[in-house]
């Protein structure tokens, strides 16, 4: 950005999720950043690529692995004014998933379009 000072200037933040939800902590800790970041009045989008699309799949049951099921938190993102969610079309197709399988409303975009979306950001945090 050209501005001397970031005060009052909204930047475009994109959070990129690339990993399945419970095998590692990245998905949960990414969600924690998104929720905290929502308080900063920036332009926020969240993207799900590769195995990251599994974070949004409905009907997960984590009792067997004794981990907290954080999938309801994605539904709460809208309450934090985080409502621009992009999902990579190729990742969905490769995993046999359709939009109806997901817990939230998303915009499904091609990998090529995803690259353009990334290009237009100021800050990308990739998890």
């Amino acid at each position: 950005m050209d501005e001397e000072n970031g005060e009052g200037v909204a930047k475009k933040f994109l959070y990129v999720n690339r990993k399945a939800p419970y095998g590692t902590i990245y998905a949960l800790e990414s969600l924690e950043v998104v929720l905290i970041g929502a308080a900063f009045d920036q332009e926020v989008s969240v993207a799900f690529l590769g195995d990251g699309v599994y974070q949004l799949v409905k009907g997960g049951d984590t009792k067997g692995v004794e981990m907290k099921n954080f999938s309801p938190s994605y539904g709460a993102l809208d309450d934090y004014d985080v409502n621009q969610l992009y999902v990579e079309q190729e990742a969905m197709q490769a995993r046999g998933l359709v939009e109806a399988d997901l817990v939230v409303n998303v915009e499904v975009v091609s990998a090529e379009r995803m690259a353009e979306i990334m290009e237009s950001q100021d800050v990308i945090l990739s998890f």
Binding site: G6, Y26, E29, E32, V33, G37, Q42, V123, I124, L125
Partner: protein, 130 residues
């Protein structure tokens, strides 16, 4: 240029912290400003003063502390990530009823807002690991 640095992996297992350190050092040598170095996920383990690496190897934690002292760097460990992984400063240890703290010199513990703020204030936020 004003740079923010994010370190997402712990020392030794991943190269991310080494690369972040070398990058930060090189950026300072070129006259860039480091707004903040934020440690997240297992990256918080870069801030424990209890590591004892073999003497013929680099001391990653000490190296960060020394760079911070030389250049007045702001090294911040995410409080939520740190508490999960047993990284406590004196006040957090007291507040949580623990009998020890283990933060290395030059590091401080704070919230994720410090990462977002670095993204806003820095010209570039450079992410290592994860």
């Amino acid at each position: 240029m004003k740079l923010g640095i994010l370190v997402n992996e712990g020392p030794y297992t991943h190269q991310a912290s080494d690369t972040a350190y070398q990058f930060t050092k090189a950026a300072l040598a070129k006259g860039h400003e480091i707004y903040r170095v934020f440690f997240y996920h297992d990256g918080v383990n870069n801030g424990t003063r209890l590591t004892v690496p073999p003497q013929d190897d680099r001391n990653i934690v000490k190296r960060w502390s020394e760079l911070a002292a030389q250049h007045q760097l702001d090294l911040v460990l995410c409080v939520a990530a740190a508490q999960r992984r047993g990284l406590l400063d004196a006040s957090e240890a007291k507040r949580n009823g623990k009998d020890a703290d283990n933060i290395a010199p030059g590091f401080r513990i704070s919230g994720l807002g410090q990462l977002i703020e670095a993204g806003i204030q820095a010209d570039r936020l450079v992410v290592f690991g994860g």
